[in-house]
Subunit: 207 residues, 2 copies
């Protein structure tokens, strides 16, 4: 629907919100009208928080995760295992892996995956810096935790080749049926991988 | 899901977005990560537009519609009919009625409807100022375009009583089956109103 605005201020604000992904003009208008009903200070806080984020955000010099300082909280945490690096695509995946509480090592954020279709090559990603970290020594294992897509696999192979000269273990997260899945509805490729990568029963309950 | 943030800036921004209606924490994170990928200037524009809106917005002194100046664009428009006032609940309904392109008069925004459950009484709404407008003369018709709810009807009756002393036409928008509705699935109350308020066939195609 076209919206006949009686206010340019209102129209500008709606236009700004409508630029966000997944926010249409109707939703944008609803959000703006909500903000209009809030206290002036809280709207100011809203706007300034976002401006400040974009201005002051840093990326960790070690793992390239998002950070408030030069070295991120995860790289600074002395209780974490220095000898294992989990390689992920983006900062969002750092959060996803952290939420599993199954990993206590360090991270390395690539900033994407190799995707010729989108014009993303190895040099656009933080792959060289990963090799540098491994070359510096002290690393025993690199865990590849990229998406199970063609692009993810391409990137996995590329990194695997780059790290081959070093005496470390390179592992990849398991692919198989999701917890809670009914086999009847599982796709054949995934189920196939699950069968090929079957585990001794007594290992299944390790945590 | 709980999100282990490595950045307080990021966490603050996500918290601010998650305060908006209909935006959960996952969506908030997605929006914030999107903004992080944008140019610094465009994020600054985004934040400042919203702050400016809340700070500088005015409400039209005549119709109480949202406005950039003391008198809104619709009240200032000399081509519109001064003798008809359409009474609506909120600024959003002004847009909705404008979108129909069936009304060329003036508006009056009440700021809500009478709702004892929500603690909204007649004195919380712009009803007195509507009476003042009518009392000032020059108005031939007031069209009540409120929601077809109990609260809307209560407000309709209240306004009707308040305006009864004045020699004007007071009308209410028609209720009936929606355009495109199949009768089989129409609720009885609406269909009943449709039958009671039936129109001569040749009037149906007036626009």
């Amino acid at each position: 629907m076209s919206q006949p605005f009686s206010s340019a201020l209102l129209e500008n604000a709606v236009n700004e919100f409508a630029k966000l992904p997944g926010i249409g003009r109707k939703t944008a208008l609803r959000l703006v009208l909500h903000l209009l009903r809030q206290e002036e200070e809280s709207v100011e806080t809203f706007g300034n928080t976002i401006i400040q984020l974009r201005k002051e955000i840093k990326y960790c010099q070690i793992c390239h995760n998002i950070s408030d300082s030069d070295i991120c909280a995860l790289c600074n945490d002395a209780t974490r295992d220095d000898s294992t690096i989990c390689v992920v695509e983006n900062i969002k995946e750092v959060m996803v892996v952290e939420n599993t509480r199954q990993f206590r090592g360090r991270y390395h954020v690539l900033g994407g995956v190799i995707s010729p279709m989108d014009g993303v090559g190895p040099s656009d990603l933080e792959i060289d810096s990963l090799v540098t970290r491994v070359a510096a020594g002290g690393i025993k294992e690199v865990i590849l935790a990229l998406s199970a897509t063609m692009e993810g696999d391409t990137t996995n192979f590329y990194i695997f080749r780059k790290l081959a000269p070093y005496d470390i273990k390179i592992s990849i997260i398991a692919r198989g049926v999701s917890v809670g899945d009914e086999l009847e509805y599982t796709d054949e490729v995934t189920l196939g991988r699950s069968i090929v990568n079957r585990l001794p029963f007594n290992e299944t309950f390790k945590s």
